[in-house]
């Protein structure tokens, strides 16, 4: 089955987790997803290999970036009617706090869905949603190949 078939089957079944399992890198990061109150929340389960600064300890900035980017892509896949694999054009992360050695959650909002381009805002938090560890603005190409 192609990735598009897997994603379409996952959507039809309403199983957002199956969507993640189709991508090897999401397993490496330890990503999980669930829909809570109609919102898709992607979680990066804490594991020692995600650490960037062992002295603090703090999560590697790259893992937070990857979580935010993945959450934005999952949101687009989950909301759009037809499956088109979004291609990231630009991706801008603001790092607001150091990420502690614990689970991190992320949720995205599509600010504009165009015919060719989608703009997405994403937020990542740990314990307190009102105190995000990082936010991102992403622009995707969403045209069929």
């Amino acid at each position: 089955m192609s990735i598009r078939d897997v994603l379409e089957a996952a959507k039809r079944a309403g199983d957002c987790r199956a969507m993640l399992d189709a991508v090897p890198y999401t397993k490496f990061l330890g990503l999980d997803a669930e829909v809570a109150d109609g919102q898709l929340v992607t979680t990066m389960r804490y594991a020692p290999h995600l650490i960037g600064n062992p002295a603090l300890p703090a999560l590697h900035g790259g893992t937070l970036g990857a979580l935010l980017e993945s959450a934005a892509i999952f949101e687009l896949l989950w909301r759009s009617e037809t499956i088109v694999l979004p291609k990231t054009i630009t991706f801008t992360v603001d790092y607001l706090r150091s990420g502690a050695a614990r689970d991190t959650h992320a949720s995205a909002n599509i600010t504009r869905q165009g015919r060719r381009v989608a703009n997405v805002r994403v937020e990542a938090w740990q314990v307190d949603r009102a105190a995000p560890v990082a936010t991102a603005n992403a622009i995707f190409l969403v045209m069929r190949d």
Binding site: P24, T26, F28, H49, H60, G62, F91, Y95
Partner: protein, 142 residues
């Protein structure tokens, strides 16, 4: 700080190790890092291309390394922001190189640029601009 100490410090970062990132070259204010191709980092199983997240981590690590390479004395740093332009998909099966330069160092902030590529810097996969806060305190206060 000796080059060996800088080099081992970067290669010992747990997430860099998990990704297989290696330091290839270090000069004052510039760094060349390598991300070896690995199936566990695939984003699109149909094509075998690497996930953007792995490239993001490589660019972030390279920019941070360039800052350490620019500092005369070691200091803790934290990424303030990172903007990545994805220029083309990475070729499946190929290692990704990344050259980063810390082009301005002020008392509090370091400014960096980086390019990720396979064989030639003239055919980049992604580019990044990153800023870093210097002398951050434990606990993440900036």
């Amino acid at each position: 700080m000796s080059e060996n100490k800088r080099r081992s410090g970067i290669d010992l970062v747990p997430h860099n190790k998990a990704l297989g990132i290696e330091t290839v070259e270090l000069e004052r204010g510039t760094a060349l890092l390598k991300l070896p191709y690995d199936p566990k980092l695939i984003g699109n199983p149909d094509t075998g291309t690497l996930h953007g997240g792995a490239i993001t981590a490589l660019l972030d690590a390279s920019c941070g390394t360039a800052v350490f390479a620019a500092l005369t004395e070691w200091a803790p740093i934290a990424t303030l922001d990172l903007r990545i332009d994805y220029l083309r998909a990475a070729d499946p099966g190929k290692d990704v190189m990344c050259r980063a330069r810390c082009y301005k160092l002020t008392r509090n902030v370091a400014f960096t640029r980086a390019f990720a590529y396979h064989d030639s810097e003239d055919d980049p996969i992604a580019s990044a601009v990153g800023t870093f806060m210097l002398h951050t305190k434990p606990g993440g206060a900036k």
